[in-house]
Symmetry: C2
Subunit: 443 residues, 2 copies
């Protein structure tokens, strides 16, 4: 946990919202490393493995070629604390050292853009390729990266972002109050549409499919989309409010194209895709052809990140998907039912709202979920310093003692109070839906 | 390291080459879990989160719906040893237990195929989605999975595999003797072609681009492919041997299509893609349109696997890519320069040669690399019990005291001896290239 705290500190320092946008000429990546080798020598091995060289200098790797293509160490910050045991297996120690000292360090490497050009698929092979397997390290985690503006020119970025999402959902200032269709799997199209009707009538802004539900035989995508959009369009005709429904179209490319076109045809306003399911090529294609906001789900994120000394920080990872076109990105939520600490959730959400490039900020709307209810509003706002977010609550809405409409109202009132600077308990005195929501989720 | 050994044991038991191919009606996945909760209750939480339910039963989750859609625990094998400290941060303990006992278990879950249909993108959201973040667990790793034959019908699988690769490379029985273009980045097209010429003349079977080299401005794909194929075609015209060159076409979909078509037009016999760069949708598309064997690179594998209690085992992961169409898959090599133990390398390679379905085995050729030379041939063959593999050696060929031709000969002779059951030292007495290779790599 000490290590996790340290990482969070790194991220927060780098990602205050007011921070100036960097515009590096070279590709830059920051790593946490853990090694018994001299940290500079170990970092040089990383730089060599991920650019011109291999483990050892090779014939043909001339000084001119190295000057043109080699990765460079830009910064190295060695931590004071000694790490008694290797955090991950498989590491080696320097030869001849009986009791080597194991330390962690933060290192920044840089690469010439010319090694790969502005290509996301080749970027990840460069900044997050073989290096995690190097025996010099018993820990290696990608903390952040900064990209030359050529990447901003090569990729679309979010087409809708905050402004486009708010416009389509008809929500001006508050967070979008949302929920997820549950049971995750098992409902057919008509049951999904019936629940959607209940939620529309409850005053919800946003509904999403569960990530486990895309096009199962019991709930085919097309039938579900038609049934749900009938309800949503009827409700919009009656009330003027078109609820945003994120249809999970995760699948092969031709399937995603077909499903997207159907949602557009039906008058839907959002699609959803699982990032680890479609991958970079799938997401770039989707980002190019989509005429709707893309709700990007990060299921599987745990295997990329849960070890604090391995894998990816969200601060680095989310940049790939924002460039590719993600309009909304999941960040868990405060006091959630998952393993992620609150500090990390806030760091991730702030990263989503931090501009990537001066001329192309690629801002994505963070999505708070898992165990969310009225009570987390003040803490979320205090951490994020913004209401540009989507909150999805399941039990927080459906299990409200006075029903889903009171659940939606209570959650919305919590945010009204928060944005007005009024303590929830005070606001609840005049707002019974909020009062009962706080009571129900007091534990 | 004890944990790693245990995992390897799991895998080996499941994946002897002679094993009967399972044909489950439901999707099955095996996991290692670590928890202080009752392991069965924790497994039930996994099953709920990944199917009909959420953390708690929800309204609408009727007995009929659960019977139709819920994931099921098929097996639970609790380990005896107590784990003193949580392997990963963020886990919770059962309420009211002051000193909970932490144990590891192997659990098998199953899902009705009807939850998702035979869809690889939705499969990974189901078997490898949110569950890694569940607070019930301080460790969770996907060890293996078995799929209904509907998946075999839905996906192409490898179009070439062992037989197609051997036919195109003109190598009947021995492993394909290969190498990688180094420096990884920095050579232009003409320098790459010049090195290819040297390697062709040295008698090599197989050459691959480095995974860091795809279409960088200093070495554009098209120019490199044209220059290299000129050399390879000239050599084939003179000698009758067409060296197989895996051109790294990793990029966006339109780029990959263009590059593939160019390689076909130039008479090339192999393309290469980085799996973690292109993702499932990209790889499925490539698998569908490719007219050439696909050399699948796993760079980034370390972040998916290096923690022994998190992420993916290769036994599970490689099945996705084989279905999508990978003809060759990287497995590191024995006594390599990476962190992976030899036992794990062999388990991975054997998995590649284990049939996935009775009518569609989807066999992919394992690629041994990193620090490979003549000396690993006997151990590799003893572990794999097959010579259906590609071995790529860098220093093992280029740094041979008598030059690259002797490097290729020495490596090939090592495999001739191994397949004939002759100790390398004996065979080396009549084969000076092998003798010098063994001497050079004796350390």
């Amino acid at each position: 946990m000490a290590v996790y705290g340290m990482l969070a500190k790194f991220r927060t320092e780098k990602h205050g919202r007011g921070q100036a946008v960097s515009d590096p000429i070279r590709i830059e990546a920051d790593y946490l490393i853990e090694t018994t080798f001299d940290p500079r020598a170990a970092a040089e091995a990383m730089a060599g493995e991920q650019s011109s060289g291999t483990f050892v200098p090779v014939p043909g790797e001339t000084p001119e070629l190295k000057a043109r293509s080699a990765a460079r160490i830009e910064a190295l910050d060695i931590q004071d604390n000694e790490i008694p045991q290797p955090s991950l297996p498989g590491s080696a120690n320097p030869k001849g050292l009986a009791e080597p000292i194991r330390r962690q360090a933060r290192v920044t490497l840089s690469w010439p853009l010319e090694n790969i050009g502005p290509s996301l698929p080749n970027l990840v092979a460069t900044v997050a390729g073989n290096l995690f397997e190097l025996r010099q390290f018993s820990g290696l985690r990608l903390l952040d990266m900064r990209l030359p503006t050529a990447f901003a020119q090569a990729y679309p970025g979010p087409k809708f972002g905050i402004a486009g999402t708010r416009r389509l959902a008809g929500v001006a200032d508050l967070p979008l109050i949302g929920t997820i269709i549950k049971p995750s799997v098992g409902f057919g199209p008509e049951e999904t549409a019936a629940l959607t009707k209940t939620l529309c009538e409850a005053g919800i802004d946003f509904i999403k499919d569960d990530e486990l539900q895309s096009d199962g035989p019991h709930c085919p995508f097309d039938e579900r989309a038609r049934a749900v959009m009938r309800v949503i369009n009827d409700h919009a005709d009656r009330t003027g409010k078109k609820v945003m429904y994120a249809f999970n179209l995760t699948g092969e490319l031709d399937q995603m194209r077909h499903r997207h076109d159907l949602v557009v045809e039906l008058g839907g306003t959002c699609i959803m895709a699982s990032l680890n399911s479609v991958g970079i090529v799938g997401m770039v294609e989707l980002g190019r052809f989509s005429q709707l906001p893309i709700h990007a789900h990060r299921n599987g994120w745990g295997y990329l990140s849960r070890s604090p000394v391995l894998g990816w920080s969200y601060v680095a990872w989310q940049k790939i998907w924002r460039l590719a076109g993600a309009d909304h990105m999941h960040v868990n939520g405060l006091q959630s039912k998952f393993s992620e600490p609150d500090e990390s959730v806030i760091t991730s959400a702030r990263a989503c709202l931090t501009p990537m490039f001066a001329d192309k900020p690629c801002i994505t709307m963070p999505v708070f979920s898992s165990g969310q209810s009225a009570k987390q509003a003040p803490g979320t706002y205090a951490g994020l310093e913004s209401a540009d977010l989507i909150v999805t609550a399941g039990g927080g809405i459906m299990a409200h003692p006075d029903g889903p409409a009171a659940g939606v109202s209570g959650l919305r009132e919590a945010w009204e109070a928060t944005l007005a600077g009024i303590p929830l308990g005070d606001y609840a005195r005049e707002h019974p839906a909020l009062a009962k929501a706080l009571e129900a989720h007091a534990a």
